[in-house]
Symmetry: D2
Subunit: 334 residues, 4 copies
């Protein structure tokens, strides 16, 4: 790699276009427990209890339900320049976004359409936010602690793996076929199982945002609240369950626009320099649910469209492999 990659610190925030900001606020703030750091007529900037920067989720009132961009924090201001150069040399669309012209609270940034077709932002500078870690009196709903990861649908998993490898990401876990063909991969910069994961499927589309709680009872609580609000149990799509991959306890919800969010807790440390990839066989039915519960169809098929730098939906390509069609129960990779 001739050009130096930006030093990514972590997955930082996602910006979603939602068609009804009031409905979205009910879901993300009142029910899940995100805190409002900033709001205006068309925007909500939200964060979890443990987050010390301006936001980890931005909801923007839009005409369609879509992903504006996912965003990574980089280590230094110079890494923003490196990101610009890196994607320019790859021949990708690149746009510099100075403070005040992009997302509230975020300083100088660069936005690109990456080789996988995703709108991705890189920034270093972001406003600080008041410490709420111990403001237990303000914690509500699922008591979301922080954004944990992005999960994206992309047709070509090896290409996604190679791209993020070139950005310096490690790989914690994979799902592989008998010939080691790659069905899915989990990659990280911070010392958790992932900052980004790839789910094979038509893409570019956003599969889900993963947000972390401290304990599993907090995951259950949000399901109870949705059940209590009769008819709102439909926001529960899958789970709760234990993942094979990542070992996390999970619950998948759909917001009023259909954006998917995973409530996620208890994965593990990956910070050692020689941390090894753990490989699951696509035939092991515990890979997606450690208890062997079936994954429902919508979870494999539905996802959020993504917007280009000019705000238009990007075209989607079909997946090369279909994990949902694989026969399980055969011997695994171990």
């Amino acid at each position: 790699m001739s050009t130096q990659a930006p030093d990514v610190v972590r997955s930082a925030y996602a910006q979603l276009s939602v068609t009804d900001l009031g409905a979205a606020r009910w879901f993300w703030v009142d029910t899940l427990g995100f805190h409002i750091q900033y709001e205006d007529a068309g925007t909500l900037c939200l964060r979890g209890t443990d987050e010390l920067t301006h936001h980890s989720l931005v909801l923007r009132k839009g005409d369609i339900a879509a992903l504006d961009h996912i965003s990574y924090r980089v280590r230094t201001p110079e890494d923003v320049d490196r990101a610009e150069k890196f994607f320019t040399e790859l021949g990708r669309p690149v746009r510099r976004v100075p403070r005040g012209q992009g997302t509230p609270g975020v300083g100088d940034a660069v936005r690109v359409i990456d080789p996988l077709g995703f709108p991705v932002e890189f920034f270093h500078d972001i406003d600080r936010a008041e410490r709420l870690i111990q403001r237990f009196d303000l914690h509500r709903g699922a008591q979301i602690a922080r954004l944990d990861h992005f999960n994206i649908c992309t047709p070509d998993i090896p290409a996604a793996y190679a791209h993020y490898k070139s950005l310096g990401f490690g790989c914690s876990e994979t799902i592989e076929g008998d010939e080691h063909e790659l069905y899915a991969a989990w990659m990280y910069r911070k010392q958790t199982v992932h900052d980004v994961a790839f789910t094979g499927g038509a893409g570019p589309r956003l599969h889900h945002l993963g947000v972390a709680t401290h304990e599993s009872h907090q995951v259950l609580r949000v399901a109870d609240i949705l059940g209590a609000l009769n008819k709102h149990q439909d926001h529960i799509e899958r789970g709760p369950g234990r993942h094979g991959v990542s070992n996390a306890f999970y619950l998948y919800l759909r917001d009023p626009d259909g954006h998917r969010v995973e409530i996620y807790t208890s994965d593990y440390y990956t910070g050692d320099p020689d941390h090894e990839t753990y490989r699951w066989s696509v035939h092991d039915d515990r890979r997606r649910d450690f208890w062997g519960n079936a994954v429902i169809e919508s979870w494999y098929k539905e996802a959020t469209p993504v917007l280009g730098l000019a705000g238009k939906p990007l075209p989607v390509s079909d997946a090369l492999l279909d994990e949902s069609a694989v026969r399980v129960g055969a011997d695994g990779l171990g």
Copy 2:
């Protein structure tokens, strides 16, 4: 009712015929955490951490997987006589079983085939057992605290309701159709949601045994253990989830013979004399899972055959109503 019914204290124990006692021991003792109170070549008498009487589950080596009997404790020795008289006057098969001729640890008992066709025992006298409530060093697996209830498949729910009403049981909850036709009912003597529940289906068959833990993390733990023992995740049939009916957090497992057990926690007090029945509409998809997760087919269809007083399997009649075929999503009873 001319004859006085026996004063039932609580659901006390179930006796199951299992085809492989070693496999059953692995499941119930090593994995779920039941304590062995008595064993011989063909029998295991088991109890939970909080139980102060000899057993709440008996596993008997048999030729087929079946229910020998469910058993209720009655308030006084005279109530055993009352039970004998009560079922005799109903014209049902009745057999007196003196201490030493029946189940180990149990004193003078009477066994009947009740009007629903189920083998049911009534006893008062039972051996005490050492207090293990605070022997946390011995608690294992799901840390089962106690037997909570029996759930039985019976074709005619109103008949089951009427019979248990005649035995003095209260009714905590029901599932009902638009014309208040009864699809299921939960009935109690002790001050919990139930000692016995009726699931509409071909019967007489045992649907499941419900066993209680103190907290929900103990329910999750047994699922994790089964997942850890690869291929044993198949013992997990349904859940975890929150029930609409009873409000309990649940997980359904199948033992190596297919006997179903529910790990169950956090229902509510029903001891007031005027406790009212709470009625669910069969159209409310939260009744069986408060989070709206679908009930899988096997849960509605499969169950354990029951044995007559002479140890032969009893014939089964088809259900009058089929809850699993009802359309959900229509307006409920509230």
Copy 3:
């Protein structure tokens, strides 16, 4: 006993005099999570999430911090008459309180000063309340499920034991000296460890109200909330811990008037007719805290004064035995 005792169902509610109703509301409603069922300028009637009757706690604006009365529900209206006769024959002060002249929501009642000097009410009739068990969206703070018990300071524990025995209460646990002298006792009507317990000390005084949550994380949550509200950590008096007696996980708080409340979870079933008393040695340091943590001085010494039927504070006698002064570590009763 020549006169028939009333058939007590359970500890039903306590009525406290508080000097600042706004401060009390902050503590009991906003922080602990009690629901308001009724309020007027001088009164709040509160209940837990699982309670189906009008209230389990009444806060009355008064001049001093005191207990108006503890109150038991009885099985039938006739049991109210029985209570009146029972205490009249004991020569105790007795007052009949018709519906509308006593506590809101409560029907015909009788109030007495019992032989221990405590103001005690007995009633059967009480208004129903909307079911909130599954209104998880309304559950707050410690998510209190229900009143569990009263704990009273009384100088003569054997006398208290004998009186409640005459009312038909069972005894689940005791603390005893080397010669079986009684330091404390836990007595029940409903099928839990207790409806009432006696702590040796100057009395009559109310030691605490015990309120139950479903799980231990809900106990911890209220401590976290109080810590978050700086200076309000002073409301935490003792715990969290595991009791030896009762096995419950506990936390003791003091309300703004100094009334003590125990957040309590996970005791055990006592409903069998021959349930045996479990006896702790006063020398076993696990009796009050199973982990051996020391009980702080204020917990043994401080308590709420009680009011007579005319609303005046009742005089207090000194304790016959002082548990807090006993040397621990000697051999126990086992």
Copy 4:
């Protein structure tokens, strides 16, 4: 700083001298749930469920209870050389320990007596260990996931802070006096609150090892187990509680030799490059226990002696400041 510091990845393991290896095994393995990775007549190498390297705790049979060394993993083999040079240039005792001559499973290492007087090892190479993260069937006791941190007693906190700053550690939290004099500090390399913390006191001595569980109920479980084994509740020294500093839920135990271990869960992410130090006032009684519970005397006063490179106990100097004597309740730093 002229010489380059080694790039420390994380706190890796501690090696303790214990006087009774069987008693230590009962405590750390049977009760806390550590897994044995290696054992011989005089040594046990232990690790938690989530640890993928050879051990995080070594118990060595010795004549006295002491700390052999704490040990940090560094990023590359060259960082071991850097560590040797770094401490040599500081004029500190330094010893190179090739693979096979030091602790089992550990490759080429360097051991030093650091400027604070502590025996500290640095290594890169260590044997891998089988993944047990999802072997829930093998998880026992407190289900310890991993070593989290070392806490050391040192007389001069600013000196300790300066030394670890020179090693590239960040500072997450401090306890400070009115004039910002430093009473305690928490410093990290991995992305948690700390790898090492300094408690003011006579030193060099090891205050405690911090080991992490995933959830708070696992912390409570080990206390329950110790209570169950009567007389063993004495191993519980302090807690459970919530720390102000770090926000973790904690429990302090003493092993059979008096070595202190903290069971610790739920702190927060510190991986951002500009993560700010959070400062507590020494007058805020929530700093050590967020619920305001008093810290017991032994916790401030007692600690484990440390051994020099030749295996002899090192002399101890008195603390410059005494946090335990400070008056709390005055205004804090916020």
